[in-house]
């Protein structure tokens, strides 16, 4: 079997930093690739893209909300404004996959909803399936969003909000924007569900409906007091209409204001470091389980080690992976299952 040639990570990183679209595309393909050799190169790519500047560059915005709330139209309207002001935009649009026993396929329809009809070199959209992350955000979103941050001014992650997603997206985005649908049960459910403290900004879409939109906005405004992860931020609730193109500018100002707030309070770098640590722990746990995490010294130690090296977390992640893998192989007589997995790794290489 011949495997397709994989790109040289360091060269690729240099091209991505120059904003070459082809390089961005092949970088994203590489990060999506699960073959062992590709994983090594992914780690090298991300390491080559990392650095201090990475903790302060760009703006990563998560947009979530119930199905039918008009997230894609809203994102599309925001993109139009950003592009008019000369900012480049990268989008990761996540749609659900069908269950593995039903084939695990996905219809990715956000692209058609987001894109403008004209050709635009300053906009890059990658659609992603949620894969087997039940209701959550695909694990690939994390490294991909960080790659995009290296070359776009604004990076948007759009997901359908179904509980777990908000929690996941809060562990990626600098700013999380929840899009509410007026007069719909979804929003009420959401208010009740106790995860209202996650978003930083609320946008009630379809405000051209009038009273129902204002009612939903005031319900959100009156909702339970929040003990928030980001103190002293005043949670704006704004009325927007993607189709009528109203309130878009204000929503963007809230986003920008939120980023400034994080930067001025010295929180942006800390937040990103924390998010990265959380994802590394999550990925390690997913791959090796609690036991594997213990082999690396346990959750607390791993978290500590990551926080100490905020600018090279991907390299750290790969070192931890290798460490756990070697411990698995040397410490244990491999069980038949781990042996099989190990063999798979070998044959794939």
């Amino acid at each position: 079997m011949t495997s397709p040639t994989l790109p040289d990570p360091e060269q690729l990183a240099a091209r991505i930093l120059r904003g070459e679209r082809a390089a961005v595309a092949s970088g994203l393909n590489l990060l999506d690739n699960k073959l062992a050799e590709a994983r090594n190169r992914s780690a090298r790519l991300l390491a080559a893209l990392s650095g201090e500047r990475w903790l302060s560059r760009g703006h990563l915005i998560g947009v979530t909300g119930p199905p039918g709330a008009g997230k894609s139209s809203l994102v599309s309207a925001m993109i139009r404004e950003w592009r008019l002001s000369g900012k480049t935009v990268g989008v990761l649009a996540v749609d659900p996959s069908s269950r593995p026993e039903l084939g695990g396929g996905a219809l990715l329809g956000d692209r058609i909803r987001i894109k403008n009809s004209s050709h635009d070199e300053g906009l890059f959209i990658r659609s992603l399936a949620s894969r087997n992350q039940l209701g959550g955000v695909a694990t690939e979103v994390w490294p991909m969003s960080w790659l995009m941050l290296a070359c776009f001014d604004i990076v948007i992650i759009e997901t359908v909000g179904v509980g777990q997603t908000e929690i996941d997206i809060a562990e990626i985005g600098d700013t999380v924007c929840y899009v509410a649908q007026p007069a719909s049960g979804d929003t009420i459910q959401y208010l009740k569900s106790g995860i209202i403290e996650i978003p930083d900004i609320f946008a009630v879409n379809k405000c051209d409906l009038g009273a129902p939109a204002r009612k939903t906005a005031s319900e959100i405004g009156r909702s339970a007091p929040r003990h928030d992860r980001r103190e002293n931020w005043d949670y704006p609730v704004c009325l927007v209409s993607a189709t009528m193109n109203t309130g878009i500018r204000q929503l963007q100002e809230h986003c920008e204001r939120h980023r400034e707030f994080l930067a001025n309070a010295g929180l942006l770098g800390k937040l990103r470091t924390r998010h990265q640590s959380a994802w590394v722990v999550r990925l390690l746990k997913e791959e090796f389980g609690t036991f594997g995490l213990e082999l690396a010294g346990g959750r607390a130690v791993v978290g500590e080690r990551l926080r100490e090296n905020p600018s090279s977390q991907f390299a750290e992640y790969e070192r931890l992976r290798q460490h756990i893998l070697s411990r698995f192989m040397s410490v244990n007589q491999p069980s038949s299952l781990t042996k099989k997995e190990h063999l798979d790794e070998q044959t794939i290489v």
């Binding site: 084939g103 396929g105 996905a106 219809l107 050709h119 399936a129």
Partner: protein, 672 residues
């Protein structure tokens, strides 16, 4: 032999849907067809004309003169009707988003020839609502489209009283998969939406409203289940009669008559053993002629080779002769309705009416047809019905002779000729049309054009009827693209829900179950070998909006485990290549039914090469003659699928193998 009775009923209007290459070539064809006994004209426009673009627009590349005649300005219209007296002709125009414009050109031409517009008779299809569900030649959002329909009705009722300003179409709903009940329900809902809109405009006095109702006509489809189809048309008549009486208080029963034209079903025509289409077409015609109570006013029949490409004049003549044999040789027109009193027919009609009423209530409860389209409900229902049909074909429950049974055939002498049994459009047509248009632009009075376009924009903004200013534009020499762009500037453009996010139970998959399981394994294993799940981009380059095929492929691919990026219709080759790059797909699938596959596919391949994506395989599907399929393969296309490839499972298996081959893996081969 008994001589025919003297007092026979008048036969229906006989037409052939035609037009291609240029106004001049189409005019020659029309005059030949009329000389053969055709009694009306049915104009097919090319896609740039249907979607409001000039022949030299980048989006029009490869599409000019393909599926119909290009009409860019009033001189083209003049040439199209050269030596054809407008006041004596009954002209049907299959035109929707730009209907107000083509009608303005027709009226403008009549004025220029000194003919009083009150003497014009004919039909503009002008049902933009169904364009959002099938066919896809919409331009503007639904609100603006409704307004354009209402404007043409309001105008013609006063100034061109013999014109049918809109032909509510259930035809295309059936092509998109609609059941008879869905056809009845959605067409009648659309008619209600149109009439309500006209009423609300306040332009028509209440006492004149019955005349508006009378002018509403329908365009329906007739499929192979011809008994049921006949009942469907009787149901249409009864429901329309009741609806116009109760909802619109039309007292005169003559004004409540259900008037319809028909084109029999194209969905069921096959590329395999295409000669069988002749008997299919004749049987389908029975549904709309047998019952006097529900007989069509105008009939156009497709040609036997429509699933293979564009019909030649001889093929069109054959289709016309079918109608003439039915009307003039049989005794059909000598009798009153032959089904009245039949309990079997009555029961079937009743069942259809009950089903349709339930669905109408359902749509009304959602706020009417526009709301149900905007929410994606209607499209989802249609995609679901269409999937059921394909599933039945694959399982063999729905038999199609020559396709899923009785496939053995001798070589057909009809298709062995050097032309392959189809017509080729003139390859020089596009260039000549562009030259003609550019010469026209140089010859006209620029300040008049500017003033006329300003008047159009003002009318669009103010809500004033669009027709008078459009007729002024026509006379000033404004082009189709200029008219389309002016209104785009005011109304914006629309992208409708695709219906691929369908709510139907995805456990109930299409095709043979063990094949699906096998396919899922193939897709998963190939994805694992390549390091990530297989990703497919599906898009339609060019202006052709028939998206049913692309949607079915997308849904099927999802069901067998692909991650599918559906990029929709009306894409430039550049946009498709850009999407392929951004999305990092393993394969690009293009669907083209307009006949412009050679130009468009070649451009896509070129754009992919420009982006270093030459290694990404491209596959194409659509109405593609065998000879063209071979040329496409020579250009580098990896597979071409045509209507004879009815098994979606087989197509999926082949796509997996194409991906494998392009990535250095062995082909797995045919499904069992």
């Amino acid at each position: 032999m008994v001589a025919a009775r003297k007092n026979r009923d008048q036969p229906w209007l006989m037409r052939t849907y035609s037009g291609h290459s240029s106004a001049k070539a189409s005019n020659t064809l029309y005059r030949t067809n009329l000389a053969k006994g055709q009694t009306g004209l049915s104009v097919a426009f090319d896609l740039p004309t249907q979607t409001g673009y000039d022949a030299d627009s980048p989006l029009a590349k490869g599409e000019v003169g393909k599926v119909g005649v290009p009409i860019s300005h009033i001189e083209d219209m003049d040439q199209l009707f050269d030596q054809i007296p407008l006041d004596q002709m009954n002209t049907s125009m299959t035109i929707n988003a730009t209907a107000a414009w083509l009608l303005s050109l027709y009226i403008g031409l009549a004025q220029r020839r000194g003919i009083d517009p009150t003497r014009l008779s004919g039909t503009t299809q002008n049902d933009i609502i169904k364009e959002y569900l099938s066919r896809g030649t919409y331009i503007y959002p639904p609100g603006a489209s409704m307004r354009l329909i209402a404007d043409t009705i309001n105008y013609t009722v006063k100034h061109v009283p013999k014109w049918n300003p809109t032909n509510i179409c259930s035809y295309h709903l059936q092509e998109a998969g609609a059941t008879p009940v869905q056809e009845l329900a959605y067409a009648l809902c659309t008619a209600m939406a149109v009439l309500d809109r006209v009423k609300a405009s306040g332009e028509i006095k209440p006492e004149a409203f019955p005349q508006v109702v009378e002018r509403i006509s329908f365009f329906v489809n007739a499929g192979m289940r011809f008994v049921e189809e006949c009942c469907k048309l009787r149901a249409f008549g009864e429901m329309w009669d009741e609806l116009t009486l109760t909802r619109y208080k039309v007292e005169d029963p003559r004004l409540r008559r259900f008037r319809y034209g028909v084109q029999v079903n194209s969905l069921g025509l096959t590329e395999a053993q295409p000669e069988n289409n002749v008997q299919r077409i004749v049987l389908e015609m029975l549904a709309v002629t047998l019952s006097k109570r529900a007989r069509a006013r105008a009939i156009q029949l497709p040609a036997w080779n429509e699933a293979m490409g564009l019909p030649r004049p001889w093929d069109q003549q054959w289709a016309l002769r079918m109608q003439q044999v039915m009307a003039f040789e049989t005794d059909l027109l000598e009798y009153e309705d032959i089904f009245d009193g039949s309990p079997v027919i009555a029961a079937k009609v009743k069942a259809l009416i009950e089903g349709a009423k339930r669905e109408i209530e359902n749509v009304e409860a959602q706020g009417g047809i526009i709301a149900a389209i905007e929410s994606g409900y209607v499209k989802r229902e249609l995609v679901g019905s269409h999937m059921n049909r394909l599933r039945a074909i694959e399982s063999g429950d729905l038999k199609i002779i020559g396709v899923n049974c009785f496939q053995e055939t001798a070589e057909s002498p009809l298709t062995v000729g050097s032309d392959g049994g189809i017509m080729k459009t003139d390859p020089a047509a596009e260039r000549e049309q562009i030259e003609r248009l550019q010469a026209h632009r140089r010859s006209r009075n620029d300040s008049e054009v500017r003033a006329a376009l300003q008047g159009l924009t003002d009318a669009a903004k103010s809500g004033e009827n669009i027709m008078p200013s459009s007729i002024r534009c026509a006379l000033a020499g404004v082009s189709t693209g200029e008219w389309g762009d002016s209104l785009r500037g005011v109304f914006g453009e629309f992208r409708p829900p695709t219906g691929i996010d369908i709510a139907i139970d995805s456990r109930e998959v299409l095709g043979k179950k063990d094949q699906v399981t096998d396919l899922r394994e193939r897709v998963a294993n190939t994805g694992n070998a390549l390091g990530r799940p297989l990703k497919l981009l599906v898009g339609k380059p060019g202006l052709d909006g028939h998206s049913n095929g692309a949607e079915q492929i997308s849904v099927k691919a999802r069901d067998v485990g692909f991650e599918v990026v559906y990029d929709g219709i009306r894409l430039t080759p550049q946009q498709i290549a850009q999407a392929a790059q951004e999305e990092g797909v393993h394969v690009v699938g293009l669907s083209i039914l307009s006949g412009s596959h050679m130009e468009l596919v070649e451009s896509v391949l070129q754009e992919l090469r420009l982006r270093d994506l030459a290694s990404v395989p491209v596959i194409a599907g659509g109405i593609i003659p065998r000879e063209d399929a071979e040329r496409l393969m020579a250009l580098g296309v990896r597979a071409v699928y045509t209507p004879k490839d009815f098994s979606l499972n087989a197509i999926m298996g082949d796509i997996v193998d194409v991906i494998r081959e392009c990535n250095g893996l062995d082909r797995i081969g045919l499904l069992h």
